[in-house]
């Protein structure tokens, strides 16, 4: 089974953003992202101007997947947290649910302890919201009917 595509409506994104804004307010992190384990960016809040959030998501999902394999090799089902400490910027990636990850980028205005503390609450809230979205997965298709008819023969035309 190839699985269901995820459909996020405006109100879903608003609720996710509220949860992420609470995290940013409580921790003073620079930005926070929700991504799926396949590397898609699903939501982002905070200061991201110099960052390529798509590449960040793809690489973080890859790094997380790689540590999962390492975990399996040493007899652990999964590591739930991945932490990279830089000179000024640090990254904390944690598991939200079976499919999604939460990634926080922060500097020395805050601490890893505070990030871990509030990441846990945020993971639970995000997991709850995606649980709701999954339960209502038969909705959708509102504006996307005849998607292929609406596409040109060449989605990537020659430049």
């Amino acid at each position: 089974m190839a699985g269901y595509s995820l459909v996020l409506f405006e109100q879903d994104v608003e609720q996710i953003n509220v949860a992420l804004d609470v995290f940013l307010r409580e921790t003073d992190a620079k930005c926070v992202l929700v991504l799926d384990k396949g590397g898609h960016l699903l939501a982002v809040r905070g200061v991201t101007d110099a960052m390529d959030a798509s590449s960040l998501s793809a690489l973080a999902a890859g790094a997380f997947a790689s540590t999962r394999e390492i975990a399996r090799l040493i007899g652990e089902p999964e590591f739930s947290v991945l932490f990279h400490q830089g000179r000024r910027e640090h990254i904390h990636v944690s598991l939200v649910d079976e499919e999604r990850l939460l990634m926080a980028i922060f500097d020395d205005r805050t601490t890893i302890g505070l990030i871990r503390l509030y990441a846990k609450d945020t993971e639970e809230e995000i997991a709850r919201l995606f649980g709701e979205i999954r339960r209502q997965r038969d909705r959708g298709a509102r504006a996307l009917k005849d998607l292929n008819q609406g596409t040109a023969e060449t989605p990537f035309p020659p430049s």
Binding site: A2, L8, K145
Partner: protein, 203 residues
């Protein structure tokens, strides 16, 4: 799996270029990166060894034409082709929406092509995916080299499932066939999403 975001009016797809070592997967992405206008692409990220062999994956985000007001964003990935990197190949397949299998047309690479295709099928099965559900196309690369198998033979060896799929001849380093392949797989994943949405709206 694809993701549709009504707030940002974006649809995301993940396309994976798969195939044996040195068949031209990275060359496909490099050509796409070179040819797509600046506003419609991100950076090409390559996790490669010092010898420029793919270690984990290459990643290139590109935007295609709008569909019903939605921007379609395709995230193109390659896998490392070398046999002993199977664990990382499997990881990259997670959440894939469409696959381009790049075959090396040279006669002496046939066994590697077949083994890589079989390996793809096995790795898809790990996620409970199969070729019946995931759209894929074949690309016969390196058509400019002197000692290559005819297309009929490549078709016979690689395109032999009950449902034949689209296949393209290419010289990825020069761009020949690269966009034909990408356009075809993009159309197929859009079509697949459409089918899924129709089925969901009926339930």
């Amino acid at each position: 799996m694809s993701a549709i975001n009504y707030a940002s009016k974006e649809i995301y797809f993940k396309i994976v270029y798969y195939g044996p070592g040195m068949c031209g997967k990275t060359s496909n992405l490099q050509y796409v990166h070179k040819a797509v206008p600046q506003d419609n692409k991100g950076d090409l990220v390559s996790l490669a060894t010092d010898q420029d062999r793919t270690l984990f994956f290459d990643f290139l985000p590109v935007e295609a034409l709008q569909v019903h007001g939605f921007t379609t964003k395709f995230q193109l990935y390659t896998v490392p082709g070398q046999v002993y990197y199977n664990a990382t190949r499997r990881l990259v397949l997670r959440g894939v929406d469409g696959i381009v299998f790049v075959a090396d047309s040279q006669w002496n690479k046939m066994k590697e092509n077949v083994e890589s295709f079989r390996n793809l099928e096995e790795n898809l099965a790990e996620y409970e995916y199969s070729f019946d559900e995931i759209p894929y196309v074949l690309q016969y690369n390196k058509r400019d080299l002197p000692v290559i198998a005819p297309v009929e033979y490549l078709e016979y060896v690689l395109n032999r499932r009950a449902m034949r799929v689209s296949s393209f001849e290419s010289v990825a380093t020069e761009g020949t066939g690269v966009f034909d392949t990408l356009n075809r797989i993009s159309k197929l994943v859009l079509h697949q999403l459409n089918q899924e949405m129709e089925a969901r709206s009926r339930t």
